[in-house]
Amino acid sequence: MDPTRTDLSQADDALVLRAQNGDHDAFGELVNRHQRRVWMVCRQYVGVGEADAAAQDSLVKAFTRIGDFDRRAAFSTWLTRIAINTCLDELRRRRREAIVDDESDGDNELNHLDRVPDDDAGPEGRSMQKQAVASLVAHEKKLPPRQREIFRLRFFAEMELEEIATVLDVHIGTVKTQLHRAVHKLREELGAYR
């Protein structure tokens, strides 16, 4: 953890302590600091249409349960875990409510990510970079669920590798391996664009 991150985490701790005693202003400041990250995480799981609602839900849950936060992890890590769980609950609910059961992808809950609404890559782009981005979006969706999840948390939610390992409850080595494989595949797919 770099010094800036440590300072931020310590400043979070003071706010958390106040929020645990019901201080709304302190929690408002925590929201201010972390809402972007929470939204970005939710965006990766439930899509842009539901990201706002999921992010709000996650942050309200965080306040409700802030008494449970024991400072063993950084507040941002704890909050991200809540956001991911909230999104997975939402995806499970959607799955239960789905009238037409599409192709069965097995029992792995990560397959919920396959139901994330498609990102609107748009028609053929004019520039090379637009095509490259469209290709990235298309091939990123074809990655195995765990690889896609780690790739998105790393690059779009801009999380550190250790933090990803903590929130997903996997070994850091797994995160590194899956991320490496994801980037490797995407670079292969990008081919001429890269």
Partner: protein, 156 residues
């Protein structure tokens, strides 16, 4: 001397993973490899920029969240009790020790279906009668001796 990064090293560099020293040194000095890494990163960054454009109005979102908050958190802060852990450890040891003793102590075979053959009531009645009887030989002598001893000690 390394010519260029291999594909797996290139992917590791894009992912921000640690590289071997030779690969790291090469990347620092090779413009071609650096360009390849940054070109892939640029594509990812453009995608991130697209996602950023979808973000909501943060002030509005915060206000909506603040309106939804309950007055106080429902779960009270976790309070550490330094004495709790050793106390729990002692309690656990006691429970185990007592449990083992109970398990290892031979219990008399108390089969509820078997009634004792001994005439318990009769034995108890005889013992009571014996204790109540002052004429049993020996008891008078014992009493007499005790009286003498008390007398002698009190006189000295």
């Amino acid at each position: 001397m390394k010519t260029h990064l291999e594909e797996h090293e290139m992917s590791a560099a894009v992912a921000g993973l640690e590289l071997e020293t030779t690969a790291e040194e090469h990347l620092g000095s090779c413009m071609t490899c650096r360009q390849q890494v940054s070109a892939t990163r640029a594509v990812i960054d453009v995608r991130l920029g697209e996602l950023e454009a979808e973000t909501p109005d943060w002030d509005r979102q915060r206000q909506e969240i603040m309106l939804k908050l309950p007055l106080r958190p429902t779960v009270q802060p976790f309070r550490r009790r330094p004495w709790a852990r050793p106390l729990l450890a002692i309690a656990a040891v006691l429970v185990v020790a007592i449990g083992l003793r109970v398990l290892w102590t031979p219990t008399p075979g108390t089969d509820p279906g078997v009634v004792s053959d001994l005439p318990v009531e009769q034995i108890l009645a005889e013992v009571d009668a014996m204790l109540a009887d002052d004429t049993i030989p020996g008891l008078e002598l014992l009493d007499q001796g005790m009286d003498d001893a008390i007398f002698e000690n009190g006189a000295s």
